[in-house]
Amino acid sequence: MPRHIVTLLLLLLTSTSTVSAQQTLRWGADPSGGAPYVYTDPANPDRYIGYEKEMVDALAEAMGRRAEFIPSDWETLVSALQRKSFDIIVNGLEPTGDRAQQIAFSNPYYVFQLQLTVRRDDDRIHSLDDCKKRTVGTLGNTAASRLLQQQGIPFRSYQDPVGAYRDLELKRIDAVVMDVPAEAFYARDNPKLKQAGPPFSRGTYVIGLRKGDDALKAEVDRAIEKMITDGTLEKILTKWKLWNEAQVEFQTSVKTKTPPAIPFEMTNSIFNWGEALLRLTRAALVTVLIALGSMVIAVTLGLPLAVGQWNGPKWLRAVCTVYVEFFRGTPVLVQLLFLYFGLPVIGIAMPGWLTALVGLGLNYAAYESQVYRSALDAIPKGQWEASYSLGMSPLLAFRRIILPQAFRIALPPMTNDFVSLFKDTSVAFAISVWELATAYRELANASGQFLLLGVTVSLFYLAMSLPMAHLARMLEQRLSNRATERHDDAEVPA
């Protein structure tokens, strides 16, 4: 090896070790829709800002470390921490009983409350008690979602506050429960929404650590206490308009080392398999509904598309081709997001399940049309000519002679598509439809039962797709058997 490369390598090695002389503090949080905790600076998109960003910077400084932010995904923060993607979670994390089984917590650094928000013209809902039979939106896997679950209030989980408040505006849900900081940032100034009742419940934000990282935990706790006593945290919170009575009370109790006057509530998710299976069954039914509904759309709409593209006038052929290429050439996920978030702009706000059903239907119609088209192409021209010479009109020939034959050719690829459509319903999770994939993600995140729930959900999928594949095979076999069986007595002498 040439000597200068060795030197270069040595240089690189020494330079990294000088940097790591100052230890890093790798922290994970979800910056998407994450204001005011940590989010992309709208003025400077490659910078993150937020009160927790500033807090962690101060925290790291107090620890003599360099903060390194690892953007992550809220729903999977705990498992990412366990995988050592980062060393601490700082993301408005609430200590909950179920999380306590998986990770360790620092001492609290902030006291949060929850706020219920409704549409401005709504006079039915004044508190959570009025929501027993309505759908409430909230962030998935939060203290708020656990509270709703505990009280038996039907709720929908969102991945960010923006989506939840928008669906509230669009009347897809009736109310939103959110931590006050997020509510203050995303909803308070929205003229179409209003607060329903005062803030309620009282919980704390803590920093999440891996179990066994005791030295780091002690270091973090010391740094939190220092930030509180020397006023650094107060300064940051004041800057972000998050300084309030609850913080005064809390910080005083820390400074004077006395317990707080009002105890903090710790929500526990009550995970039991009976309930999980029930919710999974509901999710499975939604999955089947979406799959069947969209297949009906695909099969029905596919035919005119195929015929138009195959034998229509020039303009119609162009229209059909554009349709097919558009839906085949763009990801179904993007199409769903467009239907869900884009269409409301022009006044069409469908509920999530219907959006998924229509979206997948429109998408698969493009694929089915191509299956039909190649099946139609596969019918020999002679079949048309024989029909015509028997006096049939083109329409009659198509309906009675061509279509039945094309159907037999199209059947195997169609059933194939149906099985894959069935699995594609999982993209509906992007628009918060409670189907199997969503159910898996949320139940697993809330319980940590990734493995067992994963196996269960897979079994659910298999229990539905295997009979379908079997049915398809039987259908195909019956069609082809008819031909072979008949062949046995074929050579009867003429």
């Binding site: 002679g382 000519e385 010479s389 028997l390 006096g391 049939m392 009659l396 009675r400 039945p404 003429a494």
Partner: protein, 246 residues
């Protein structure tokens, strides 16, 4: 029964039929003979409306089709003509998704709106006459070429055509079956059917047709009673064709 006058067919600049004239008297069989590329298949496709006539006319059982008509009118007359002219294609084109009897009753039931029962009764009679009644419930894939052809004949006859066209009926048959077919077609002629049979097999046409028509280069070269054309052709080209065939 059918009268063809000055029939011309052009594909772009290429004229395939250059003015064909002939007539087929009722209850006779006309054999059309000629080498490949002589235009005989195009002629047949003009007679059942699968090709659009460029010039001239075809008259069959009261339907008059001529070149140069307005598209809508032409279409209407083609539909009428097709009800008068039945076709048995070289490759039969049976409907594979329908049983043998289903093939035969399809057009009577859906085009002529004959009651299904009536159509079936008649279909069984026709299948019996072509010796295929035993296979009525079977599907085309399971039939031999000869059997498929006989079903195709029954299917065409079920529409009571005034004229039956057969395109290269011997191409898929072995010699024994050709013999059977000849007997079958003669029988139908005696029962009053009129037919045009296109073939390049002189042997077959010689035994079955009343008249022969020899085509070459899109023109009728010779047309007359079968014996006369075969034994004393006037045209040298016909003589050579016959000699080569022997």
């Amino acid at each position: 029964m059918i009268k063809v006058e000055n029939l011309r067919k052009r594909f772009g600049a290429n004229e395939v039929l250059k003015g064909i004239n002939f007539e087929v008297p009722p209850q006779t069989i006309l054999g059309v003979i000629g080498a490949s590329g002589s235009g005989k298949t195009t002629l047949l496709r003009c007679l059942n409306g699968l090709e659009t006539i460029s010039e001239g006319s075809v008259t069959c059982a009261g339907v008059h089709l001529e070149g140069g008509l307005a598209a809508a009118e032409y279409k209407k007359r083609v539909r009428a003509l097709r009800l008068k002219v039945g076709t048995v294609f070289q490759h039969f084109y049976l409907f594979p998704h329908l049983s043998v009897v289903g093939n035969v009753i399809e057009a009577p039931v859906h085009v002529l709106h004959t009651a299904k029962k009536t159509a079936e009764t008649e279909a069984y009679e026709l299948l019996e006459s072509v010796g295929m009644k035993h296979a009525a419930r079977r599907y085309p894939e399971s039939l031999s070429g000869g059997e498929q052809q006989r079903v195709a004949i029954a299917r065409a006859l079920a529409m009571h055509p005034a004229l039956l066209l057969l395109d290269e009926p011997t191409s898929a048959l072995d010699p024994r079956r050709i013999q059977t077919l000849r007997g079958l077609l003669r029988g139908f002629a005696e029962k009053g059917h009129t037919m045009i049979i296109i073939s390049h097999s002189i042997g077959f046409l010689g035994g079955v047709s009343d008249n022969l028509l020899y085509m070459e280069g899109g023109l009728v070269v010779e047309h007359g009673p079968t014996d006369q054309v075969l034994n004393s052709p006037k045209d040298q080209r016909v003589k050579e064709f016959i000699n080569q065939a022997e």
